[in-house]
Symmetry: C2
DNA sequence: TCTTCTCACTTTGTGATGCAAAGTTAAACC
DNA sequence: GGTTTAACTTTGCATCACAAAGTGAGAAGA
């Protein structure tokens, strides 16, 4: 019954998918915005807003190079984000054990 | 990566706690509104609105007897609700396996 | 070279949602 | 008979997730 410990920032399915996708990469690797978008099937508008929340929390880091159509944004999970995801999954596992 | 299968009705932590608490009861047993409220620490206003959503979905059944301060409302998980919770936990387990 | 197209995001708009505070109803107590 | 208490109910609001429309710049075509 540790549902109260579930980090609400990560709990939203769309953001959980973002975190999970980024966590699957080797440490330090960055994923392109457009690639992340197609992998988790979100509109760019939704993706960028979710990413901003995660970035504000320090869970991901995004970097944009270039401008206009030549621009490319890449995303990576911070170590803080990785820890937060681990806490979240631990909480989930604990919750499942209680059922 | 089955996050899209997570029933959003159950996914909300407060409602997940409600479902989990009711699921812990022997089949068919009913729990008093006030008892449920104190067990999961929700204001009565929040509890009733969450219960209504679960009831609209057919996941719980609530029954009120008496009126005014003498009234007592009891809640129970429907078999549909139990199945839905199982699907949800299965989806969660699948998701955790993918991490 | 001027216009249209495409790419890669961004911003804006909106309906739904979860939470908290205030309200209602009726029995019990003084 | 006025106040308190118990057990919900209703209302109000701030936030949020999603979708749709918008922006900026290079590429392609006339």
């Amino acid at each position: 019954m540790t549902a109260s410990e579930l980090d609400p920032l990560i709990h939203v399915p769309a953001r959980l998918r973002i975190m999970a996708t980024l966590a699957a990469l080797p440490f330090g690797d960055r994923l392109a915005f457009t690639r992340l978008q197609s992998q988790i099937a979100l509109t760019p508008g939704n993706l960028i807003t979710h990413l901003r929340k995660l970035e504000d929390a320090g869970y991901v880091d995004s970097e944009k190079i270039g401008i206009g159509s030549a621009s490319r944004t890449t995303i990576t999970l911070t170590s803080q984000g990785r820890r937060a995801l681990e806490s979240y999954t631990d909480a989930l596992r604990g919750l499942l054990d209680g059922l």
